[in-house]
């Protein structure tokens, strides 16, 4: 069986390391990454190799077939997300290893939380069972809340509390949807649901609850209020992880369930409505980002905006013909991955800039381009991808979405992509303008440790490079999906 060991290791290993990091002395907690990162990277690559040689498979935990047991789905989409997670989390972990040295010892609890978060995310990417997804969401969500609270300042606690309330409400809505689906179809397996689901009030209400719950967790406008304080106020590596990966998990579930249930039961209106909300997010988030004075808040609002692009998936994939739908799938995933990489890079380099000038205020970045070019360079590369300018993953994603929108005759989404790009340019260049302004002639800024700059730079470079080699990841991502050909 392909991935016999590597698939369970993807969640069992981080769980074990999470426990282990509780057992060792605080000084040793960070060092476990040198054990965990190579092993997880190896497991991820082994799963990819399995996918490339054998194709998509189903992993039957406990050797019980669904719906009795819980199955894991090892298809292109899941593997793509796993690889993305491994890359981003590894680099954020290396960043945190250096970054947290100067923080109080209570922040060493970052490490167990990180491992649990990782396990939760990998669990979600692999899940095929909708109740299992609920538990996975909770593992990830509570770990994320804990990470936000880690600073233990009043602001951090309030942000964590708000985040927790949103996450709990979202989970319950999701769970209730699962309860209805199980009541109606007697199965929790996505494959089973796809076969059995019919169009009736139960399915519709269940899907509505699931969508609402997941929208809240993904922080789609106008349900985004919890995100900026949580992502903008957390420790830098935490911000990066949350913005890059955690919100993607709930979107991922939404995407999967939409393809399972959506075409059967949803009117096109719902799809368009989700698209409109996405457009609202792009405009509102971009506008708010531009108005921020605090660097990390700007980046956090940028996440609110970028989430909006992902939701163009729904109108572009629903009843639009196979070619447009495939392009929408490709484009959304490209956007998702590019955003994960670029946003992590943006947060990390923003953290470096803040370290350098000792202040989170954008206005204090005056003249920093002269003294900290490397931190700024990563910020710029990541910004290129977020603005959707070539050559970058963000551009390739935008290209595919544009293509899909034109092909399906939904020209109104072009306006969203057009204005969204300009808005993101406005807020990214707001930072640049400040950094290019001539300020003090003497370098008073602190030099961040090299590791911090290098991790941000690697993430930003990958966000650029993935746009140039997009056909390979996109080819893998299609494997095992309805869009996979051959």
């Amino acid at each position: 069986m392909i991935g016999l060991w590597s698939v369970p290791l993807l969640f069992a290993l981080p769980l074990s390391l999470g426990i282990l990091s509780l057992l060792v002395v605080p000084k040793w907690r960070p060092r476990l990454i040198f054990l965990g990162l190579p092993l997880l990277a190896a497991a991820s690559l082994d799963v990819l190799a399995g996918l490339a040689t054998v194709g998509p498979t189903v992993y039957r935990l406990g050797d019980w077939a669904a719906p009795l047991g819980i199955n894991l789905v090892v298809d292109g989409l899941a593997v793509g997300m796993i690889l993305m997670t491994t890359l981003v989390t590894s680099l954020c972990a290396l960043y945190a290893w250096v970054y947290l040295r100067d923080h109080p010892s209570s922040t060493t609890f970052f490490w167990p939380l990180l491992w649990f978060l990782w396990a939760g995310m990998n669990g979600i990417w692999l899940a095929e069972d909708i109740f299992n997804l609920y538990v996975g969401l909770e593992v990830m969500g509570l770990a994320a809340v804990g990470m936000v609270a880690l600073r233990a300042t009043p602001q951090a606690l309030a942000a964590a509390m708000r985040y927790l309330l949103a996450a709990l409400l979202g989970s319950l809505a999701y769970l209730l949807g699962v309860a209805l689906l199980y009541g109606a179809y007697g199965t929790l397996s996505m494959a089973g649901l796809q076969e059995a689901a019919t169009n009736n009030a139960t399915t519709q209400v269940a899907l509505a609850l699931i969508i609402l719950g997941l929208l809240l967790k993904t922080a789609l406008f106008p349900l985004h209020a919890w995100l900026p304080p949580a992502h903008g106020g957390a420790l830098t590596p935490v911000s990066a992880l949350l913005s890059a990966l955690v919100i993607k998990a709930s979107f991922y579930i939404l995407m999967r369930l939409w393809l399972v249930l959506g075409p059967e039961v949803t009117p096109e209106f719902t799809a368009q409505f989700l698209g409109v909300l996405g457009a609202g997010a792009v405009f509102y988030g971009g506008w708010m980002a531009w108005r921020q004075h605090h660097l990390k808040q700007l980046v956090a609002y940028s996440t609110v905006a970028q989430i909006g692009y992902l939701f163009l998936f729904f109108p572009l994939v629903t009843n639009t013909g196979p070619e447009a739908a495939r392009l929408a799938w490709d484009g959304t995933l490209m956007m998702l991955i590019a955003h994960a990489l670029a946003k992590a890079a943006l947060f990390l380099s923003a953290g470096n800039l803040i370290l350098a000038v000792g202040s989170p205020q954008i206005s204090h970045l005056v003249g920093i381009s002269r003294f900290r070019p490397m931190s700024l360079f990563s910020f710029g590369l990541a910004g290129v991808s977020l603005m959707g300018l070539p050559p970058s993953g963000g551009f390739t994603g935008k290209w595919l979405l544009l293509h899909s929108a034109i092909l399906s005759g939904q020209w109104w989404w072009l306006i969203v992509l057009f204005l969204g790009g300009l808005l993101s340019a406005a807020y990214i260049f707001k930072v640049f303008r400040m950094s290019f302004r001539e300020g003090p002639q003497i370098d008073r800024s602190v030099t961040p440790p090299l590791t911090l700059d290098v991790t941000a730079l690697i993430l930003a470079s990958v966000a650029i490079l993935i746009g140039l080699t997009a056909h390979l990841p996109l080819h893998w991502l299609r494997m095992g999906s309805v869009f996979g050909v051959g």
């Binding site: 490709d330 003249g367 381009s369 002269r370 070019p373 360079f377 290129v384 603005m387 300018l389 070539p390 050559p391 551009f395 390739t396 935008k398 290209w399 595919l400 544009l402 293509h403 034109i406 092909l407 072009l414 057009f418 790009g421 300009l422 340019a425 260049f429 640049f432 303008r433 290019f436 302004r437 001539e438 300020g439 002639q441 746009g467 140039l468 080699t469 997009a470 056909h471 996109l474």
Partner: protein, 498 residues
């Protein structure tokens, strides 16, 4: 991966790698940076020379790889592209030497030269792009890499100019993107093919094609500074002189004009564009810009601003030539791509010399400067004559071909535009020349710098003289092989209107 495709990558890589290396160098590594800069520039020039010979012998150079299904990244050296590459690599070398002198002891040189090289890499990419996607990729990269150069001084004014520049170019880029994607939806990957690839499409799509053409030309027109999309260009004059020289003579405006040439010739096809009735509006827009730019130039008191408006006007000659339906007009337009580049960079270098040596920025401060800086002033005069179109300067040849081309295309009114524009050119250049040569100096110049043996620093003077020599040669030796005229005829003869 054969030799011929690698050499294309090499041309791109010389400036790209140089840019990366320079970014990493510490501010104080002056010598190493200079060595990297010059080595890369010379190396690129050698490679380009090699390709020029190859293209002349009709050797195919192509490099491609797949980005996403149905979209390839293609570099290809054809006669049109290599002409632009040749221009930019030659001027890169001169401008680099000039900039090293100009920015001596200025701050942020590492950043400056890094982006400068990146800017050249984008220009080369634009020139070598084999399809619209690749073109777009480098077109946007050019926007990004020039922004830091425009705001280089970091003053409020330059930041403001940078912002305006961004709004214009990013907006234009987005329009171009829409056009490109829409074409992609219609016919798939849009490679540049002589004669275009759209003529066979169903007539019901023609209205759609016209909209696409408009979007693309507006998108490109921003960088080509077509009226009314030109406002960013004079504002961008706050940048250091080498940037103005490079932006105005080579990179940005030419990228726009070159893109219009690509779209008209290699995407739509000149005959198909003519049959859709797209050339006439383009010619009108270009003509309006020519006259408008000249009129605005007249009103400027700042030397660089006047040159900037002159650029607005002159670049539209290229667009005008493209939109004249007929081989002679095309030759005139394409040739002007080179001529205007050489002449305008010379003029900007001169303006930079005046500013750097004497602190002179206003035209009114130029009185008697010919006596103090004779070499620069002679060169400036030559450039100005070229711009006006006095024989045997390069500008005259362009205008001649454009005029004949207009008659051939039965657009006699264009002749009127050309004559009026030449008169206006004279009206805004001759007073400057008068001040330089015939007025007595009436003020003190601030001559703070140590200048060496010449009237100004050698690194400022010699690039100026060299570009001037090239501009002069382009006019006088127009009949020789490998002159701009020769090459433009090669392009037209080989690829268009077969």
């Amino acid at each position: 991966m054969d030799w011929n495709s690698l050499i294309l990558l090499g041309v791109l890589a010389t400036s790209l790698v140089a840019s990366g290396v320079i970014f990493l160098l510490a501010e104080s590594r002056l010598v190493l940076r200079t060595v990297v800069n010059l080595t890369a520039a010379v190396l690129k020039l050698v490679l380009v020379g090699w390709i020029v010979l190859g293209v002349y012998q009709a050797i195919e150079y192509e490099f491609r790889f797949t980005i996403i299904e149905g979209v390839d990244f293609i570099l290809r050296a054809d006669a049109l592209g290599i002409m632009f590459v040749g221009l930019s690599s030659l001027l890169w070398l001169f401008t680099t030497i000039y900039a090293i002198g100009y920015l001596e002891k200025a701050p942020n040189r590492s950043r400056f030269f890094g982006f400068f090289s990146l800017c050249v890499a984008s220009t080369v990419g634009i020139a070598l792009a084999g399809n619209l996607f690749t073109f777009l990729l480098f077109y946007e990269l050019l926007t990004l890499s020039t922004y830091p150069l425009v705001v280089h001084r970091g003053t409020r004014e330059s930041l403001r100019a940078g912002q305006v520049y961004l709004y214009y170019t990013l907006g234009g880029g987005a329009l171009l993107l829409f056009g490109v994607v829409a074409l992609h939806v219609l016919i798939g990957d849009t490679e540049f093919v002589p004669g275009g690839s759209l003529a066979g499409l169903d007539p019901s799509l023609h209205p759609m094609l016209i909209i696409i053409f408009l979007m693309m030309v507006i998108g490109l027109g921003v960088k080509a500074a077509l009226f009314p999309l030109h406002a960013w260009l004079p504002m961008a004059m706050v940048a250091p002189a080498p940037v103005s020289a490079l932006l105005h003579a080579v990179a940005v405006v030419k990228a726009g004009a070159f893109g219009i040439a690509r779209v008209v010739y290699d995407v739509f096809g000149i005959e198909f564009a003519q049959s859709l009735g797209l050339l006439m509006p383009l010619a009108v827009a270009a003509s309006i810009t020519i006259i408008y730019g000249s009129l605005r130039a007249l009103a400027q008191t700042d030397l660089k601003k006047r040159l900037a408006f002159s650029t607005v006007s002159q670049v539209s000659y290229i667009v005008l030539g493209i939109s004249l339906f007929g081989p002679i007009g095309a030759v005139g337009g394409l040739m002007h791509l080179l001529h205007q580049g050489l002449m305008k960079i010379t003029l900007f270098f001169c303006a930079g010399n005046y500013a750097e040596t004497l602190g002179v920025h206003k035209i009114s401060e130029l009185d008697g400067v010919g006596e103090r800086m004779p070499a620069t002033s002679v060169v400036f005069t030559l450039g100005a004559f070229g711009m006006i179109g006095i024989p045997p300067m390069a500008g005259f040849i362009s205008k001649w071909y454009l005029g004949v081309g207009a008659l051939e295309a039965q657009m006699n009114w264009v002749l009127g535009v050309l004559i009026l524009s030449s008169l206006l050119n004279a009206a805004y250049f001759l007073p400057i020349l008068y001040r330089i040569w015939f007025r007595k100096r009436d003020r003190l110049w601030c001559e703070g710098k140590v200048l060496g043996r010449f009237e100004t620093q050698a690194s400022l003077l010699f690039p100026t003289l060299l570009t001037a020599a090239f501009a002069l040669a382009a006019g006088i030796l127009a009949g020789m092989p490998f002159s701009p005229l020769y090459w433009a005829e090669l392009i037209v003869g080989r690829e268009y209107l077969q």
